[in-house]
Amino acid sequence: MKTEKLIHQLVTETQPIKPLAPPLNRFFKWVVFAFVYFTVAVYFIGARPIPIETITHPAFLFQIILILSLVLTAAISVFFLTIPNKQSVWLFLAPIALLMVWTASIAIPLFSHGDIHAGAGLKCLRNILIVGMPPGVFLFYMLRRTVILNLRTVGFLFILTTTAVGCLGTRFICRNEDPLHFLIWHYMPVILSGSLGALTAHVVLLKDYLGPHIKAMQSNMERYRK
């Protein structure tokens, strides 16, 4: 089929279309939703009483700021990476750098603590899900009209954002301050589900979500070529 004919076909089938809002606007919208839901969820699950010494302790503060930064940078990267553009490599490197710092901040206390116990953590997993899932669903909803060109990266950062929100919530709920418990029941779910997100992005983001969009495009191609 001739390109001119294709152009003519595209022009005849075009309709007014609402442009996507800028990524920063959508990011702030998501942050507001996530913050409100986060506060409500932590309140209803039951925030632990945190002594003033703990809140003001540099290690605790550092962890909170680190996870919060990870959530925000991963989310902002997701919004920017789903717009076709020449992307800065920092959109991917910034969350990864924070993730590495976070990993180090969890690994170091493991060696300095003498007696470590993982303890039970199924409730922590449940809380990560309860706190993280709705912001994740909302984020997924906000990505519905975007153009995802790098599925694995977006898949990884998307799940990382979601689970990191859940992980941040459990810091205010879980009373167990043992570094091994934190590693196994708070940190590992974030890493494992993030990796799972990268591996399944082709199925979740492409087939179920953007699938019809891309399939329609391909069938159009077939139709036009005939």
Partner: protein, 182 residues
């Protein structure tokens, strides 16, 4: 892309987003020239360039809502086209892998066809695209099962069936055309 051209194209696209058909046509015509140059610097083979160009235009059409007013249009446009080109190369590599695998398969023994119609069927099979031809040869001439063909070509059974079905349809069409010509 020069800033003036970028601004001009961005203005056309914004009008197109609002439903202005003339602006959209001008936009698509302008970018098809730009993208053709962009692709021909990176690809070989005029036919493939035109294919990728058409895919790029479709992708631009589908993603036209994702252009954000006020931003440079060039990076948006070239990212979409580059992505289509990468996708094309990936598909091309996959097809080449299958074709290389096909070359290593011994040719099926020729079936002695006793009538003219049989020869015509065989001639029609030869006209099919390589993958369809190979699958039909393996299924019908070498008498292999769908499962065996699927294993041999590292495809799923349903993919083999679909490809064979497409091949049969093409043969049927060829015969239909011949009959209508007669």
């Amino acid at each position: 892309m020069k800033p003036e051209l970028d601004q001009k194209l961005a203005a056309l696209l914004l009008e197109a987003q609002e439903g202005n058909l003339d602006a959209y046509e001008s936009f698509l015509k302008e970018i098809s020239g730009l993208l053709r140059d962009f692709l021909s610097k990176r690809m070989q083979g005029a036919e493939s360039i035109e294919d990728v160009l058409q895919e790029s235009l479709l992708a631009v059409h589908r993603a036209r809502h994702s252009y954000i007013p006020g931003r440079a249009l060039g990076p948006w446009l070239y990212t979409i086209s580059e992505n289509r080109m990468i996708d094309f190369f990936r598909r091309h590599r996959k097809i080449q892998r299958i074709e290389n695998a096909l070359l290593q398969i011994p040719k099926p023994p020729l079936v002695k066809l006793e009538n003219f119609r049989g020869e015509r069927v065989l001639a029609a099979v030869q006209k099919l695209p390589p993958l369809q031809r190979k699958i039909i040869e393996l299924l019908k001439l070498s008498d292999m099962s769908v499962k065996e063909v699927a294993t041999l070509l590292k495809m799923t059974e349903s993919a083999v069936k679909v490809t064979a079905f497409r091949g049969y349809s093409v043969i049927r069409k060829l015969f239909g055309n011949e009959q209508s010509e007669n």
